[in-house]
């Protein structure tokens, strides 16, 4: 246990100091950490799932507080919580069918229906049913099973939940690691012969996507907007040339000038929100507006760990991070203006941009391409409604 605690603190420090870059790396580290939390947590006799959920949620709240802008952390914590709930439910329905075979009093249909309703988000169907009866039923599962079986079975049931949850988490790790390949597989459907693609900044997903199309012998050109002030676009351009693609580097300000020559805009997202809005590197909102004006499809690539179940209410401020102005100005350049007590010059260096859902044509995740208004469906699949607030 103390080992896990120190691991958590170390990771919280890393997040707070922004030492980990990129949502995929952050997501993977978070999942590994939560896996050790789950393995090392000692479960009580009854209500095992709730104890596990509380433990994971406690750690998750600390992680999210350390870096609230990195939405992948919260997403992954909620995925793990959803896995725990699902595994508990499947174990419970299996146990209930055993009970039914043994001839227990409580009607299996009632119990199973109540259990199902605990997992589903609140809906019109459950509106009249009320929450009191469904809340009490899960507590009787573990206790009911315990009273039936012997001590050897008890520990095996504890182990079973942990094993199932660990299995689920391994699947999640695999999904996070393989997201690039899954998305790249769909490249051939979207990129056609002799097309011109515009992209901004450097995204590994976009790189894999374009290279997959190149592998399938599609010949196309890429315009890369350099993505000031970090100039990540230069890095991407070098990689694309290394893989044999015809590339053109343009400044961010030239996007509007070039957009009429472009067939499709493809960018990698930092996060996709529940309303279909996209958080991406600074400059994508401009590219999206340009694309809308000229009726160019705006395609967003995002792995499933980037899908966030929250609705943004002030994303430009709350989900943004201001980085050091040294990326814009060299030290000493503006020193005469900035040295006085209250300087008249301020330098703002935001990291992210918010693109409203009306500007996005397609969101490609590892499960396929979807309309931005379809995000709520994917969220219902991956997350539980109880986990939205941590």
């Amino acid at each position: 246990m103390p080992d896990v605690q120190s691991m958590v603190l170390e990771f919280v420090n890393k997040l707070r100091k922004r030492k980990i870059e990129g949502s995929q790396a952050t997501a993977r580290c978070t999942v590994e950490l939560l896996k050790s939390v789950v393995s090392h947590h000692r479960l009580p006799r009854a209500n095992q799932a709730s104890a596990l959920i509380d433990a994971v949620r406690g750690v998750g709240a600390q992680l999210v507080a350390a870096n609230p802008v990195e939405l992948a952390v919260g997403n992954v914590v909620r995925r793990v919580l959803h896995i725990i709930r699902e595994e508990d439910l499947s174990l419970a329905t299996a146990a209930v069918s055993e009970l039914d075979f043994n001839g227990e009093g409580m009607s299996a249909a009632v119990v199973a229906a109540a259990a199902r309703s605990t997992l589903r988000p609140p809906s019109l169907q459950t509106l009249l049913e009320g929450t009191t009866e469904s809340a009490t039923v899960p507590y009787t599962f573990s206790s009911g099973v315990d009273s039936e079986s012997k001590t050897a079975d008890k520990s095996s049931i504890t182990q079973k939940l942990k094993d199932d949850v660990r299995g689920g988490i391994d699947q999640l790790i695999k999904d996070i690691t393989d997201c690039h390949e899954q998305i790249a597989e769909q490249a051939i459907e979207h990129i056609h012969q002799n097309e011109v693609i515009l992209t901004l900044g450097n995204s590994r997903t976009v790189l894999e996507f374009l290279c997959a199309a190149k592998e399938k012998k599609r010949s196309f050109r890429v315009f890369v907007a350099e993505g000031a002030p970090r100039y990540q676009g230069h890095v991407l351009a070098k990689e694309l040339v290394a893989r044999g693609l015809q590339t053109t580097v343009i400044t961010d300000s030239a996007v509007f000038a070039m957009i009429s020559r472009v067939n499709m805009v493809i960018i990698g997202a930092h996060a996709v929100m529940a309303n279909g809005g996209v958080i991406g590197p600074v400059g994508v909102n401009m590219a999206a507006l340009a694309a809308k004006k000229h009726a160019v499809p705006f395609v967003v690539l995002a792995g499933s760990h980037k899908l966030c179940p929250l609705y943004p209410h002030n994303p430009e401020v709350l989900l943004n991070e201001l980085r050091s102005p040294c990326e814009l100005l060299d030290f000493g350049e503006f020193s005469d203006c900035l040295d006085s007590g209250s300087p008249l010059v301020q330098v703002v260096n935001p990291t992210f941009d918010y693109v409203p859902p009306s500007l996005v044509s397609l969101v490609i995740t590892d499960t396929g391409g979807h309309n931005p208004s379809y995000m709520y469906r994917l969220i219902a699949d991956y997350y539980s409604a109880d986990d939205l607030v941590m």
Partner: protein
């Protein structure tokens, strides 16, 4: 192209002749003059006195036939006691200003269960279905009423599918659930208020149209959380909702500014967001609300202002209007204060339909939803 023609002349000719013949052959539970009972009740809640209301009041004192309640009483000895009781019961509940329409409907159906002499679930279900159909046909314009009835019937049908050996315990359970629904409705408003708090930031200007109890709850909660914001209310003719809302809000020390309905576009650039309630949420994700909502949503959309709708989940209805005239007409009397020449028509519809592309988000007790989620929820319930 056909509508641009002079068909309105033909329409006026055809509309003049049939109503004369209809009055004698009307079904006993139809509302006379197709004045929407729903909007009349809302007007009664708001205390709006119209000349129509005065005429009714005088007639009620004088005992002259021809108003809403009397056709029912004249046929009471012909029809069964039970169906008469449902409508009476419903009207009784509906008159309470703080009670939601669907809650009144479910309470009326609960009264049917209580008074029923059925001995099996099937029989009870049939009685409930008949009562619900009576209620629905009595006021076709109220969407919450229809949705509330459907929801309850659906719940009864599904509950009886679960094994309850004892009919009496099942019956008492249904009664208990129906009574609890009033609490659910209050809880729903609190949940909606909590969900929308994040979207109201300090220093924002909110435009409100209509007097929705849910929106009022949202603004109250925001004021209690010490948020600094101001509200622009539209006047809301002919219901006068603007004045009523400004009364309520000034009690809470929220700065309020009244606008004419026509001043909305003029003031829209200083507005940060628009909050409206809904009489009903339809399958496309659009809403049916007081007349003027569509106009405001159009203006807000053209100026990139978000439009937020606050609606409880039992207002979701299985309707899909394709245009403004595609709903059951809900007419209400409109006063102009001066005499209007007889040949001049008045557009008396009380509500309009706002398509989903002009709405940003819906706050419901099921959570924050974007308009495309509504049809998903309805499918889960009904199919």
């Amino acid at each position: 192209m056909w509508r641009r023609s002079a068909s309105f002349i033909l329409e006026r000719q055809t509309s003049n002749s049939p109503p004369m013949a209809d009055t004698t052959t009307r079904a006993p539970f139809q509302n006379p003059d197709s004045i929407s009972a729903y909007y009349q009740t809302r007007a009664a809640h708001h205390g709006v006195i119209t000349s129509d209301w005065l005429a009714q009041a005088q007639a009620a004192v004088g005992g002259v036939s021809g108003e809403d309640e009397n056709p029912n009483s004249s046929v009471s000895d012909i029809e069964k006691e039970k169906s008469f009781n449902v409508i009476e019961e419903f009207n009784g509940w509906r008159k309470q200003p703080d009670l939601a329409e669907a809650v009144a409907a479910i309470r009326a159906l609960a009264a049917v269960i209580r008074a029923s002499e059925a001995s099996t679930m099937m029989e009870l279900e049939i009685e409930l279905k008949k009562a619900s159909d009576t209620l629905k046909s009595w006021d076709k314009t109220s969407i919450s009423l229809t949705a509330g009835c459907d929801l309850f019937i659906r719940y009864v049908t599904r509950t009886s599918a679960l094994e309850y050996e004892d009919f009496n315990s099942a019956k008492s359970r249904l009664l208990e659930r129906a009574e609890k629904f009033g609490e659910i409705s209050c809880k729903a408003r609190k949940i909606i208020a909590m969900l929308s708090q994040d979207f109201i930031f300090d220093g924002c200007t909110i435009l409100v149209h209509g007097l929705s109890r849910v929106v009022l709850e949202i603004l109250k909660t925001a004021a209690q959380n010490n948020k600094l914001f101001r509200v622009l209310c539209t006047e809301g003719r002919p219901d006068g909702t603007g004045v009523l809302l400004s009364n309520e809000l000034s009690k809470l020390d929220i700065p309020v500014k009244l606008l004419l309905d026509s001043a909305v576009a003029y003031s829209m650039d200083e507005v940060d967001m628009v909050f409206v309630g809904a009489d009903g949420v339809v399958e496309s994700g659009g809403i049916i609300n007081m007349m003027g909502t569509y106009q405001i949503a159009l203006v807000a959309h053209s100026m990139n202002k978000p439009v937020y709708v606050a609606a409880e989940s039992y207002k979701f209805a299985r309707l899909y209007p394709l245009d403004q005239k595609d709903m059951a007409p809900a007419l209400r009397p409109i006063e102009f204060g001066v005499k209007i020449p007889e040949k001049v028509e008045v557009e008396r519809s009380a509500r309009d339909y706002t398509p989903p592309q002009y709405l940003t988000l819906l706050f419901t007790d099921l959570g924050v939803l974007s308009p495309s989620v509504v049809s998903d929820e309805l499918i889960q319930l009904y199919l």
